[in-house]
Assembly symmetry: C2
Homo-oligomer: 217 residues x 2
């Protein structure tokens, strides 16, 4: 599959590296290619020559599946820069969380309760098939779930398009996720985005990001 | 321990029954004793003669530990009826969730993100030692956690008073909880209250309330 990953942070490195190993053709999209090449990304890129780098629009244009791995507060501008026509008809795996660090740590949510970032993106890009997933665990475990408890933990998908959820679920299973729970329509992303305040507290108390939730039933 | 449980719903039955079996002296507090005796509660009460029934104020007055098992939207009025002097100095285990069913199912949260029901209660009753816990799982599993996966799942405590959290944790462990995670101060209750939207979606998708979250690490 041709995959574009928008964003160059920890998620924007873990997902491309893992996807490339699995045989996908992966391009990272960034706002300023030259600046990204000159920054911290350079060392990672040198170790991952198989992953391309392009502008947000170029990466999205060439892809079948687009991953939103940008910061939640920068997601709408980044997707706008990627271009609605380049995203039309495509599956958008939205991993971003609407964290607001304006008042320090722990952050609050900039959208919550009766709306979600995923729904905002869907409203802004109605031709795109948005699926929320992977936003409830740390980047390394998104891509390598078997590194923790042999993968005995859960991940969620939310979306209005059943086929798009099927495609994302297939990708997650190929990463090693063995408990992918379909929560229903995209408004269920409110639930996983609102899990972040608990995740952040646990991160502080456990002193590690290497944990995840398992839905025991 | 002398325990008062305010509320006569599923939580207000599961916690008293379990606590009485463990040797505690338990009284259920209700707004109108005569009406409660004449209602659905009667059948349950007949099977649990060891559990007392009294007004909210009488129950709270006699107790060392008070459990808030009322509906979230009715918690502040119920605690006001119980009486601040009757709650002063005592541990209040707050299990309620601020669910607003005004727009149907699934409910939204009436307080969230930058505040929580637990914090509201604490502000209203500053002499009381509020501990938020057990609000993230179904009533039956609160009291009998070993009924699911031999208790291999997690529960959280939040509170500003370390001794009060120790007392609540002891009660939970006696119920059979073997992974009680201290999230920190009472503002961490925002995280567990905001877990409810995900819980409610899972309840709908799994078609059972007999599940819980395990923090795998």
């Amino acid at each position: 599959m041709r995959i574009a990953v928008l964003g160059t942070g920890s998620v924007g490195q873990a997902i491309p590296a893992r996807s490339a190993v699995l045989g996908h053709q992966v391009t990272i999209g960034t706002r300023d290619v030259a600046a990204t090449r000159a920054g911290e990304y350079a060392a990672w890129a040198a170790q991952h020559p198989e992953v391309g780098l392009a502008t947000l629009a170029e990466a999205a244009s060439a892809a079948e599946l687009v991953v939103n791995a940008t910061n939640g507060n920068g997601s709408l501008p980044a997707l706008t820069a990627a271009g609605a026509p380049n995203l039309a008809g495509k599956v958008l795996l939205d991993i971003a969380n609407p964290l607001d660090f304006g008042a320090g740590f722990p952050p609050t949510l900039s959208v919550h309760n009766t709306d979600s970032l995923a729904e905002r993106i869907q409203r802004e890009f109605p031709q795109t098939r948005v699926v929320k997933s992977l936003n409830t665990l740390t980047a390394e475990l998104m891509a390598h779930p078997r590194q923790l408890a042999d993968g005995e933990h859960s991940v969620f998908v939310s979306g209005d398009d059943a086929e798009a959820k099927r495609i994302v679920t297939g990708l997650l299973v190929s990463f090693g996720h063995n408990d992918v729970i379909d929560l229903g329509d995209l408004s269920s992303a409110r639930g996983t985005e609102m899990l972040l305040p608990l995740w952040l507290r646990l991160f502080g108390r456990l002193d590690t990001a290497n944990f995840n939730f398992k839905v025991v039933r």
